[in-house]
């Protein structure tokens, strides 16, 4: 792992603050300083949604994470106990999310390009990769690749 995350139990120990400290350069321009997700996880926001603000956590992972620590579906961030926050952050720090995951995806694409696979070529050309038709309606697909 090239970064460590810390939880700071802010003022009244309620707001979940995740700080990322990147020791190496990363793909994100904003990652030079601490990345603070405080804005996206207000104490009044549902916990589930707050988890889903992380790249790499969707509704399934967030529901599983929450049930793992006995957090009910309509819990708000402000209602979490300190221990739950710590447990949750411990697990999050071991998961591949955010920039790690982004970098992995980019590396995969890069590898495919370098080895000259069909998928790599399609990525390089900016064309759909998974066999979709290109006769019409290619706009959205090429924006993905």
């Amino acid at each position: 792992m090239c970064f460590c995350r810390k939880v700071q139990a802010s003022n009244y120990g309620k707001t979940l603050t995740l700080t990322e400290d990147f020791s190496r350069g990363s793909t994100r321009a904003t990652s030079d300083g601490p990345y603070d997700c405080q804005n996206t996880s207000q104490p009044t926001q549902f916990k589930m949604k707050s988890l889903e603000t992380f790249f790499g956590i969707g509704n399934n992972s967030s529901a599983r994470l929450m049930s793992r620590f006995n957090i009910h579906p309509t819990c708000r961030v402000g209602e979490l106990a300190n221990k739950q926050v710590l447990d949750l952050t411990a697990v999050l720090s071991e998961m591949k999310i955010e920039n790690d995951l982004r970098r992995e995806v980019l590396n995969d694409i890069k590898r495919m390009k370098e080895t000259g696979t069909y998928r790599g070529r399609r990525h390089a050309l900016g064309l759909p990769v998974r066999g979709q038709r290109t006769r019409t309606q290619v706009g959205f697909l090429s924006s993905l690749s």
Binding site: A63, R64, S67, N70, H72, C75, G139, F140, S143
Partner: protein, 502 residues
């Protein structure tokens, strides 16, 4: 300029090359000969789209609608929780409705008086705060159209009043210390929730301890916090916030009673409890700190069901009163809850300690040591409709009708149906034992009761009809045989047409 037509043969002559012709004074019209506008007055042609323009992807080119601007209605947006508060508001009085002269209140005497059957008895005014505290009134009930809240004394009510009398140890056939366990069912609008309200009112009148769960759904819908109880097998879960709310409700409603009873048992788990404190103080420990609320509730329950004091605490011991436990919306407890275990499996409602506690009271034996009444009502407007419960209730009805479990008429779940065995076992008595639970099905009012109820509307000034037997009989039939919720609609509907015809 010469015409380009040859007038002899009407054929077109070859036009003279333009370069050879002298510049003419009038502008030459090259196209659109029927336009009356001179070319130099015409607007300049629009630029055609450049073919090199990049096609815009991800943007529809076919149809572009203008978005309507949302009109600003002015005023401030509703504050957080304001709309919910409005939705949940309970109005119990309408100053425009007429006051009914000579309306009797529900009292220990009137609630068993069969001469008053069919009349509407008012709920005593000092008790209304208690009933509000236990959330006996529901927002969609029609309390807000009358001057003061009142309920009909129907057959089931009088029968329940007599039961209260017996269980309190009064009257001829006193049965003090007995526990009556009932599941109340009935059609939609048959008055199940109001039946519970009447029971609570009677409980308060008889100075019983009243514990209610006004909405069983709230405990299983994943809206309150939950935590596993370490070391329990099978794993059970506590709901600290919901327990705290239950303690608050109980203390608000039974303050007088709980303040008069002293702690009589030892509670090693609650270190902060003084030996001389009252049950009110005990319950209050759970208000502020949800972490201990479940332990406080268990302590309160042992206190209320205590029959004798523990050694060393005999001073100030008073016998505990009977208890009324009322639960509304039982069916929600008969399925899997919205909570999930740490392994992401759904938690069955019976694994929630709170739910388990109240369901285990239905089992055989004296679950309430000082006697009392358990009333668990189903709901038909908010019903998850678990198959297993309907079969279990059918079985209960069959056992009451004397059908044995070996009989072919005894209800069984359909083959290959996934009826929940835990629910079926819950209401199943042990072999050859008498079922501890009674099934009470609320039906419609009788014609006489319906007449009394409709007269109540008329005397409140809501219904402008001459109420005679024929009219009542008609409405009784139209309401599906006196279903009280439907009868109420007649009282209200006539009121609506009367005001429209003005």
């Amino acid at each position: 300029m010469a015409s380009s037509w040859c007038w002899n043969c009407l054929s077109r002559l070859r036009p003279t090359p333009r370069a050879l012709l002298p510049p003419s004074a009038t502008p030459r019209i090259s196209s659109a000969p029927f336009h009356s506008t001179a070319v130099h007055y015409a607007q300049p042609a629009k630029k055609k789209g450049n073919s090199l323009t990049v096609m815009k992807h991800r943007q529809s080119t076919s149809l572009r609608r203008k978005k309507k601007k949302v009109a600003d209605r002015g005023g401030r947006p509703p504050a957080v929780g304001e709309r919910k508060a409005l939705r949940k508001r309970i109005v119990l009085s309408n100053p425009n409705a007429l006051e009914i002269e000579g309306m009797l209140d529900l009292s220990p005497e009137t609630m068993v008086d069969s001469r008053l059957r069919g009349t509407v008895l008012g709920l005593p005014v000092p008790m209304i705060d208690q009933l509000r505290a236990v959330q006996a009134f529901k927002p969609k009930q029609g309390w807000s159209i009358f001057r003061r809240p009142g309920t009909v004394l129907r057959r089931d009510t009088i029968e329940m009043g007599r039961l209260f009398q017996q269980l309190s140890g009064e009257g001829d056939d006193a049965q003090k210390g007995k526990v009556v366990k009932r599941i109340v069912t009935g059609m939609k609008g048959s008055g199940k929730t109001v039946h519970l309200l009447q029971a609570m009112a009677m409980g308060f009148l008889k100075k019983w301890a009243v514990i209610t769960i006004p909405d069983a759904r709230e405990l299983v819908s994943g809206e309150t916090a939950y935590a596993a109880i370490e070391g329990s097998n099978p794993l059970q879960y506590v709901q600290p916030t919901a327990t705290s709310a239950l303690l608050t409700r109980t203390v608000d409603a039974n303050r007088e009673l709980l303040a008069s009873l002293k702690v009589s048992q030892k509670h090693p788990a609650l270190k902060m409890l003084k030996p001389s404190s009252t049950l009110e103080d005990l319950a209050k420990l759970g208000f502020s700190d949800p972490a201990v609320s479940w332990r406080v509730f268990q302590a309160l329950w042992t206190e209320l069901t205590a029959t004798a004091p523990a050694a060393g605490l005999e001073k100030d011991f008073q016998p505990r009163p009977p208890m009324l436990v009322a639960v509304d919306g039982l069916a929600h407890w008969m399925t899997e809850s919205a909570y999930r275990s740490a392994e992401f499996k759904p938690i069955h409602a019976h694994d929630l300690a709170f739910v388990h506690h109240f369901l285990s009271l239905l089992k055989e034996g004296d679950s309430l040591k000082n006697g009392g009444l358990l009333l668990y009502a189903t709901s038909s407007s908010n019903n998850p409709n678990p198959k297993a419960l309907s079969i279990a209730l059918d079985r209960l009805a069959a056992r009451q009708a004397g059908i044995s479990a070996s009989s072919p008429e005894y209800p069984r779940p359909p083959a290959y149906s996934d009826a929940d065995p835990r629910v079926l076992d819950l209401l199943q008595p042990a072999e050859k034992a008498v079922s501890p639970v009674e099934l009470q099905t609320l039906g419609g009012l009788t014609r006489d009761e319906a007449r009394g109820f409709m007269e109540y509307f008329a005397r409140s000034g809501l219904l402008r009809e001459i109420i005679n037997d024929q009219w009542v009989s008609e409405k009784w039939s139209l309401s599906g045989g006196g279903i009280i919720g439907e009868l109420e609609k007649f009282g209200r509907r006539v009121r609506a047409t009367a005001s429209a015809s003005k």
